[in-house]
Each structure stands twice: as C-alpha cells, then as structure tokens.
C-alpha cells in the first residue's frame, strides 16, 4: 500500500502523464470533430431561455456512447462530420463551426436531405443526450427536465399517496 506522501506523488505523476498523452477532452471525437458536431447539435437544439444541446452536455453523451453501445456508428459520424465541413467549405469557404448560425442552418438542412443516415443518427442522439437521463453525460443538471416543469429530483411519487389533488 501507498503511504500518504507516495499516494500524492503517484497521483501527481498520473495526472501529469494523462495530461501529456490526451490530445482532446473526448474519447472518440477529436477537438475539430467536436466543434463541427457542436454546430450540428446546436442547430437541432439551439439555446433560448434554456441551454443548447452542447451547453447541456450532448457532446459528452454522444462521445461516451460512441466508445460504448454506439461503437457501430463511428464510421457514420466520421464520414458525416467530414461531409458537413466539405459542404460548408464549398458553399461558404470555411468549416461549419466558423460560419454564421444562418449558414449552419443551411448546411444542416442540406445534411438532412443528402446525408440522411448521418443526420438522423445525430438528431436521435442529440435528443437522447438532451432529454434523457443525466447519468450518461448529457442533460446536465437535469436541465431539460426542469425546462419541461418536471420536479427533479421527483417529489410526486415519492411521498406515499400524496393524492389530495387527484382524489375524486
């Protein structure tokens, strides 16, 4: 076993080594992928009074799943993100993350038509990450549930038979 000093030293070494080898904050997405994907996700769920998809952790959700249950979708993502940037460069002369929100909207609309499998995946995964349980990295602080007016943590259904309102 480590004594306390060794433990601290080992921890520091671990922190250093992991900082040294990690090029990105994600497991699958490269930083440039993440920027492109954030642009797409934030068109699907933009910010208003409540956070956008990327602000609510949807990228974390998607990235985690792409290294887990959604491993099979890696190629679709890689190709789709590439296509999104190519389209953006050819139409507007810059990567998707760098063009205006209106231009991003046009590109995502084009993807919906011309890259349907990719678009549908991103749409579903964005909705899952935003409206699903926070345990998988999305819906940060249960923000979407609170947006919908759901008690979080739930109050009803915890208090036994709190049914004054529903009694007939």
């Amino acid at each position: 076993m480590f004594n306390r000093r060794e433990f601290m030293a080992a921890g520091a070494a671990l922190a250093l080594s992991s900082a040294g080898c990690r090029r990105t904050s994600y497991g699958f997405l490269k930083d440039s992928d993440a920027k492109t994907l954030a642009a797409v996700c934030d068109q699907i769920i933009p910010a208003d009074d409540f956070p956008s998809a990327s602000q609510a952790g949807v990228l974390t959700y998607i990235d985690l799943q792409l290294t887990g249950p959604y491993r099979r979708h890696k190629k679709t993502y890689r190709d789709g993100l590439k296509q999104a940037n190519e389209l953006s460069r050819s139409r507007f002369g810059a990567d998707l993350a760098s063009v205006s929100p209106q231009q991003q909207f046009e590109i995502v609309s084009a993807l919906e038509k011309d890259a349907r499998p990719f678009f549908e995946l991103v749409r579903s995964h964005t909705m899952q990450g935003y409206y699903g349980t926070p345990r998988h990295g999305g819906n940060r602080d249960a923000v979407s549930w609170r947006m919908l007016g759901l008690d979080e943590p739930p109050l009803r259904g915890r208090a036994q038979y709190d049914l004054a309102e529903t009694k007939q």
């Binding site: 068109q43 699907i44 933009p46 249950p69 699903g132 919908l148 739930p154 009803r156 049914l163 007939q168």
Partner: protein
C-alpha cells in the same frame, strides 16, 4: 447430473408458474434461464436503457453481443438485427422474463377471443381459428393467477367482460389526473370506462408494499417491488418447496431425444461456457414465442429431421403480437400530474361486435410519458428539429394524453420463425429468422381503433388530435409475441394439444404465449399465466396417473 422429473426452459411468466405448480405437487424440477436474476435494486431509472426504450441496450437482456436475429421485412429485405433494435422483437432474458419490467396490465381475454373463427369467419389469407379451449375452461385459472400473482383494478362498471366468480383481490390505485379527464368524456360517449387491471400492489399484498407511484414503471424493474411478476411471486414459492433448482445464465441448446422418439432431457451451456446435459422425465418449453419455436427447430434429430413437433411444418407459424393503434391529444390545460404508473382507465366496449371487423381492441391511456418519449409525439406540424421543436416539447409535454391499445391481430401462416441458414449466436446455434407481415385486416381494425381513440380525446377537450399506428411493413411480435406453437386438436394444423403437450412427443410440453391461437385485443400476460396454471394442472394430474410413460 442428477436425473429430475421435469426441466422447465425459461423462467418467465409461464415457466415460473409451471415450476411452482410442479414443485408444489412434489415433482423435482430444474428451472433453466438464459438470463440473470435481477432485483428491485436493478431498477436504475435509466430512460435510455430499459426494456422499453432500448437505445443504449436492454436493461434485462439480451445483450447486444452475440445474440442477433435476422428479420425479413414485407419488402423481402433481409437484415441482421441486434437485441436493442425494434425489429429484433425482443421481450426480455432474465428471471421473471417480461414480467420483471412490464407495464403489468393484467387482462382476461373475452369469451369471443377464444372463438374468433366461429364468431367472425376467417378473412382470406389468414389462419384465424378457434382455441380448443374456452373462456370457461380458463376462468378458474384466470382467478388463480389474479390471486397468486396479485392484481389490482375494478371491472365493476363495464358489462364488456367475461363472467367471473369473484372480484380482483386488490382495489385499483387512486385515479390520476388523466383518469379524471377521460372518465366523464367516455361516459358522455356512452362508453363504460373502468380502472384497468394491473399486476401491481395498490395495498400491501403477498408480503410486499404498495406502488409508490413513481415515473419509472413500464420498461423498468420496480424500485419498491410493488409490481408483480413471476420473479417475486411464484418462483420464490417454487424454490421454497425444496423441489426446484433455478439455474441462471444457462442457454438451452437442444432437447435431447432417445431412439424411441421421447425426450430424455436438455443440453445447455452453463454460465462458465461448459456444455451440460440434464436428463428428466419431461421437458417444458417456456422460452417465449420466438425462442420456444427456435428451440424446437434447433432440436432436430434423426427421428425429427425438421425439428421437434414440426412434422407438419407448423412450428414457428402464426407469429403474432399486437399492432398498437390509437391517438394523441393536445390540450390547453395541464393533463400531466407526474403520478405513475400513468395507465389507469380503459374501455372494452370496442373489443367485439363492430360490423365488418373481426374484433377490435381495448383502449386505455398510456403509461407515464418520459421526456424522451415525447420527442416524436409532438404535433405533426412541428419542425423535427430546431427552436420550434424545443418550444413544442415545452408546450406539450404536460398537456397531452395518449390513448391506445393492442388491436386484435388476425394471424397469418406466413408470419413465422425459421432458423437462419447463415447467422449463428455466440453459442453456435442458428438464430431465429423472423419473416412475414401483419394481415391486412388487422390494419383495418387498427384504423378504426385510432379513430375511436381520437373521438374520446376530442370529447375530453383535446384542441388537436392525431392518430398513431400506421401500417408497419413487418411482423409484429415484440413483448406480446405469441402463436408460434399453436394449440389445437388437429396435429396437421397445430403443434400442441389442448393440454400444451406436443402432438408428436408425449413428454414435451410448450407452455407460454406460443400456444395462443389468437392473441386477443388485450395485453397477453395474464392469459399466458392462466394457460400455465391450466396446463400445469393437467400435467400434474397425468403425472400422478401414467407419468407419461407410453
């Protein structure tokens, strides 16, 4: 391994009951289950990974690894599918089977549901048929299931039901807000709404407490163990007799037969991947419609070259589940009260008696809506993404009601399970190949049901309604899967006799939804349970007589 009297393959709704009935009668029983035994602690409240929303996998099996199926849709497209995909038509793989995580609606079919061909005649291309047993034959066993499993509800306000000797053992849960909105509307339409029957404790029962009315119900294990399935009722009783051994994570690979054509046991692969053989005097297959048929087909031998019980090519045919139809209504006031389980009110006025239609279906309000369920249930004119969609989620999540129900499915011989010639599972067995389509008359019934649901919602004050259901281009099986080992008197048109005994092999029984000739316009769990009690009683009676020695 020690020889036993009976092996039961599959610890679900039916298998649990059979194991309990046989063990209680003094037979030595081994209950084999491919999945694990989960408890209330495994509820997890994960709205993306449960048995209903499976985008991140099934919470209660099977895993996505190594257990594919093959689907052939109505257009003839062949595709390998994972257990977490809808087209897999999954139920569950665990102790309790579907009953661990079901919504727990516990319906009796109506007398006409057992006499569909006599009542309506068979539509062209269908295999609509009568059951060889009647509602009256099953009534005592429905009653037994209601009391042993534990059902709450109140049928007293509807005349549209089969005769029953006594009331349900538990009163209904207090009504939720949707009940209060929908009940007067149904009455104004001349319907007979009532508190639907649920395998859920409304009061303490069977040593467990009542439902705490949380959000996470249909698709989840119950956190407070108030939902009643075989895993917390009959299976513990079976084990307590000392006559029943439960072996989990054991995949049955085949039924073994001797040179006289009788079963001598099963082969299975245990949790450590070792091949095992368990001999027994009789074998009961209770693996759910798709897997039961697959096991019989995978049990081919010299005497049974096409699979066990498949002399006339009937194993796997007439696959049916339920085509779900209904409508969603949007209101200008709050309808959502966050009180589970949600589903609370039903009508059975429409199950039978509509001129031109072979049956109908029960209609009920839907289980509580989690936000993820709402994503594709916003009004049709809502953009699919962008600010408009987000606003619609906000506007309608607490202001919508879904009414739907299982449409009486018209069976078709071409909707069937076969063995896929190429794809194998992690144990090296050919996987189930699911093919065929829903009989078109089912869609006609479904369309009518959707209109009726819409009318009810409008009467309740919906400012906008839209139908759901459509005409999917593939079979329906899923959690309500049934029909693949049909019960009948004629061996050329069925797989088992009216006591669930395989026509060809005296000591093999299929006892689960597979034997359903038709699947009613209701959730099938309670009927699967009643048939299990009924068949078990016959089995025990014969065991005490001839012991099935021919």
């Amino acid at each position: 391994m020690k020889h036993v009297n009976a092996i039961v393959v599959g610890a679900g709704a039916a298998g649990g009951i059979v194991a309990k009935e046989l063990a209680t009668a003094g037979l030595s029983v081994v209950l084999v289950e491919r999945g694990k035994w989960y408890t209330a602690h495994d509820c997890r409240k994960d709205d993306l990974r449960n048995q209903r929303t499976t985008v991140l996998g099934n919470a209660f099996g099977p895993d996505d690894e190594g257990q594919p199926r093959v689907i052939v849709d109505a257009g003839g497209n062949v595709r390998t599918v994972l257990p977490s995909e809808g087209a897999y038509n999954n139920n569950a793989a665990c102790v309790g089977g579907g009953t661990l995580s079901y919504g727990a609606q516990a319906w009796r079919y109506m007398p006409q549901d057992f006499r569909m061909r006599s009542t309506y005649g068979a539509p062209a291309g269908s295999s609509l048929e009568d059951w060889p047993i009647s509602y009256d034959d099953l009534e005592p066993f429905y009653d037994k299931a209601e009391y042993e499993i534990g059902i709450s509800g109140d049928y007293s306000t509807t005349p549209f039901k089969g005769p029953r000797k006594r009331d349900l053992p538990m009163p209904p849960l207090p009504p939720n807000r949707e009940f209060g909105i929908l009940e007067p509307a149904a009455k104004r339409l001349g319907l007979h709404p009532f508190h639907l029957p649920m395998a859920r404790n409304s009061v303490p029962y069977n040593g467990r407490g009542p439902c705490m009315r949380c959000r996470w119900c249909c698709g989840f294990a119950c956190e407070v163990d108030a939902k009643n399935g075989s895993q917390n009722t009959v299976i513990p009783v079976a084990l307590a007799t000392g006559n029943c051994e439960l072996r989990t994570e054991c995949m049955t690979t085949g039924i073994l037969t001797d040179d006289r054509g009788r079963a001598r046991g099963v082969a299975y692969i245990d949790a450590d991947g070792r091949k095992q053989e368990q001999t027994a005097d009789l074998v009961v297959v209770s693996a759910c419609a798709i897997e039961s048929a697959r096991l019989l087909l995978n049990s081919a031998s010299k005497l049974f070259p096409n699979g066990l019980g498949n002399r006339y090519g009937q194993v796997g045919r007439h696959l049916q589940g339920h085509h779900y139809t209904g409508a969603v209504g949007f209101f200008d006031f709050d309808t959502y009260d966050d009180v589970g389980p949600g589903a609370s009110i039903a009508v059975t006025d429409y199950n039978h008696g509509t001129p031109g239609l072979c049956g109908g279906g029960m209609l009920a309000n839907e289980f509580i809506r989690l936000p993820i369920h709402m994503v594709d249930r916003v009004p049709n004119d809502t953009p699919r993404w962008g600010p408009g969609h987000k606003q619609a989620m906000r506007a309608w999540h607490k202001r919508s009601i879904v009414i739907m129900g299982p449409t009486q499915q018209i069976p078709s011989p071409d909707a069937r399970i076969t063995l896929d010639p190429a794809v194998r599972d992690q144990w090296g067995l050919p996987v189930a190949r699911i093919q065929g389509n829903v009989h078109p008359h089912t869609f006609e019934i479904g369309d009518m049901q959707s209109k009726r649901a819409e009318t009810w919602l409008k009467e309740a004050g919906a400012i906008h309604t839209q139908q759901s259901g459509g005409r999917p281009a593939m079979v329906s099986a899923g959690q309500h899967q049934a029909g693949t080992c049909r019960m009948g008197d004629d061996p050329r048109g069925s797989v088992v006799n009216k006591f669930c005994q395989v026509h060809d092999v005296d000591n093999v029984f299929v006892i689960d939804g597979s034997v359903h000739v038709t699947n009613g316009g209701f959730n099938p769990a309670l009927t699967i349970m009643a048939v299990a009690y009924y068949a078990s009683e016959a089995l025990v009676r014969n065991w005490k007589g001839t012991r099935f020695r021919s």
